[in-house]
């Protein structure tokens, strides 16, 4: 490895540190979890102190896709298109149990987990998850972002 490896790993850490504290999320809000997302984003539970305070409502400008709320079969192609439009590096957070596994909507209309359509990094279960769970998931996402290595 040698000296070159030391510098690239320090650079990885610096890039990871910068990325994890500047999360521009795309909140793809559909259902009840949106209310808890709003509560987490606002003054009481505040995710702005984690650097995630500015939602970007365009997939080209966002790097984390928060899929918040139930995805039905009618909505699934839209979700896939939004995910495809995001540029690398991108991460996906499955917020709420409907996006993790379909929740208790085991029926003809609901996608049984968004990981059947797009790859997911963090799963936050709960119906809806309490804001403390969301913040815990966000911190795990930050750990994952910080641990990514770059290819030079």
């Amino acid at each position: 490895m040698g000296v070159g490896g030391f510098f690239t790993s320090k650079l990885d850490e610096a890039i990871g540190w910068a990325r994890k504290y500047s999360i521009f999320q795309y909140p793809f809000v559909t259902a009840c979890c949106g209310m808890e997302y709003m509560a987490t984003a606002c003054s009481h539970y505040d995710i702005d102190r984690f650097g995630a305070g500015l939602p970007r409502f365009s997939p080209r400008q966002a790097d984390v896709l928060f899929v918040v709320g139930t995805i039905s079969h009618k909505m699934a192609p839209v979700l896939k298109r939004i995910y495809d439009q995001m540029t690398e590096p991108k991460w996906v957070v499955a917020f709420g149990v409907c996006t993790c596994t379909g929740g208790f909507y085991d029926n003809y209309a609901t996608v049984q987990g968004i990981d059947t359509i797009i790859p997911v990094d963090i799963y936050i279960p709960g119906c809806p998850p309490r804001p403390e769970s969301v913040i815990d998931g966000l911190m795990k996402l930050q750990d994952r972002i910080a641990a990514q290595t770059q290819r030079y």
Binding site: T30, A31, C42, S43, H44, T70, S72, Y105
Partner: protein
């Protein structure tokens, strides 16, 4: 793929070959920045003006009506939570009342007061969210933060009573899950004081604000005949001057004993709807304060020795067969299970053992309680309303929320239909936005307060 109607609309007039000006097709949604998500408005624009609009819904269809048929009557309660998810208590109680109407039972008076109090708190939360979100879309981000802060105060109250913030599953057929906790009245009055301060600040920020009024006055108006023809109820109907409110027209629970006004305006535009909602929040707080002052406390079970016993020890004694006097002993419950004591559970649930689960102390302390519990839970038994149908309307935050339930005499619902109050305004949305500019779509859509769970069910 077959030529679908969506495509026919998009490839229809306006996009042919040849010269001349063409209208621009803009699809607004379904991934919306506004926290509403899930609506597609396929609009055709001539410059900035909307010439034609086709509203497409169904992106959150979660098969509520089909899922309700799969379990028992009380199993549908969590599904009803997720209908109008900003005011879930109103949905719970509406469904429970429809089933109670079918059964022919009346809930206890204390339960009616509790239902009124929790419904009004839910209604305030709904209006806070609606005004907050629609102001944010107009650029007033501060108002959104203030409204959500006020909503947190109320959600702490809801969490004290029901155990959860949003999807609470608090109503049951025949009553509610548990009684109110101690100290609820003081906490509520304190929370209302804080909420009133927030509403005062928002009034000062928005109501006379030049920018807000320019964007909302005269925009998105609908005439009175069209509002009635489209079966629109709730704040949108009251904003055109029709004082129709289910709580006044067909009073249910104890609304006929409480004093409240029905705020109306005459213009029917977005600004009137905003003013109606702000006034309704004040009226809801007034209702809750009156209800808390006059709620009956009911009889309390007085035991013969008064020694409280730990619940685990109680269950052990019951299992060992030492049951003399067991039914009369009080149990010390953990503070998180407030309202679940024997006396309090029977104060808020109808005294009908075909409908309501016995309190846990009875289920473990006596064989009759155990059998009662068994018969209500096991498949094939359970609550069995007589065959028939019933429709029960309640005043939801968006208008008349009606539940139409059909029973075939078994322990599962045969058909549960929710009449969604926000479907009519969406059906009329194309009438509200045609002729307006495309930027006027945002405040109009915000003032309609579409809740996806209820619209698409």
């Amino acid at each position: 793929m077959a030529q679908t109607t969506r495509r026919e609309f998009m490839l229809g007039e306006g996009s042919g070959t040849g010269g001349g000006p063409q209208n621009l097709h803009v699809g607004v949604g379904p991934a919306h920045p506004a926290m509403h998500g899930i609506i597609r408005i396929a609009s055709e624009l001539d410059g900035e003006t909307i010439v034609k609009a086709d509203v497409e819904i169904g992106y959150l269809h979660r098969a509520f009506e089909k899922d309700c048929e799969q379990g028992g009557w009380n199993n549908a309660i969590p599904y009803t939570d997720r209908l109008n998810y900003v005011s879930p208590l109103i949905n719970n109680f509406g469904y429970a009342s429809a089933v109670e109407k079918l059964l022919g039972v009346d809930v206890t008076e204390r339960c009616q007061y509790i239902r009124v109090i929790m419904s009004e708190i839910s209604r305030i939360c709904d209006h806070l969210t609606c005004i907050g979100a629609s102001s944010m879309e107009l650029g007033a981000f501060t108002v959104f933060l203030y409204m959500i802060k006020a909503r947190e105060f109320l959600w702490e109250l809801v969490e004290d009573v029901t155990g959860a913030r949003l999807t609470i599953s608090y109503g049951r057929v025949g009553g509610v899950k548990a009684d109110l906790p101690d100290g609820f009245a003081e906490k509520t009055l304190h929370a209302f004081k804080q909420t009133r301060e927030v509403l005062d600040e928002v009034h000062r920020l928005l109501t006379g604000n030049r920018i807000f009024m320019d964007r909302m006055v005269g925009v998105g108006a609908l005439s009175r005949e069209e509002t009635i023809g489209y079966a629109i109820t709730g704040p949108l109907l009251r904003a055109v001057g029709v004082p129709y409110d289910v709580r006044r027209a067909q009073p249910y629970y104890v609304y006929d004993r409480l004093q409240f006004e029905i705020p109306t305006r005459t213009d029917g535009d977005n600004y009137s709807r905003y003013l109606v909602r702000m006034a309704e929040m004040e009226q809801s707080m007034r209702i809750v304060e009156q209800a808390l002052a006059s709620i009956p406390s009911g009889p309390i079970n007085v035991d013969f020795e008064g020694r409280p016993i730990d619940p685990a020890a109680y269950v052990d004694r019951g299992k060992q067969g030492k049951t003399e006097g067991l039914l009369l002993l009080p149990i010390t419950l953990s503070p998180n299970l407030q309202g679940q004591q024997r006396a309090e559970v029977s104060r808020v649930n109808v005294a009908d053992k075909r409908v309501v689960l016995p309190p846990k102390a009875n289920a473990y302390g006596s064989i009759e309680g155990l059998m009662n519990h068994f018969m209500l839970i096991m498949e094939g038994y359970g609550i069995r309303p007589p065959a028939g149908e019933a429709y029960f309307p309640v005043e939801g935050a968006n208008g008349e929320l009606g539940f139409y339930v059909v029973s075939d005499g078994s322990d599962r619902p045969y058909r549960v239909r929710c009449r969604p109050p926000c479907l009519p305004p969406l059906a009329a949305l194309h009438r509200m936005i045609v002729g307006e500019m495309v930027a006027d779509l945002i405040p109009t859509f915000g003032s309609v307060n579409m809740i996806g769970g209820e619209l698409d069910r």
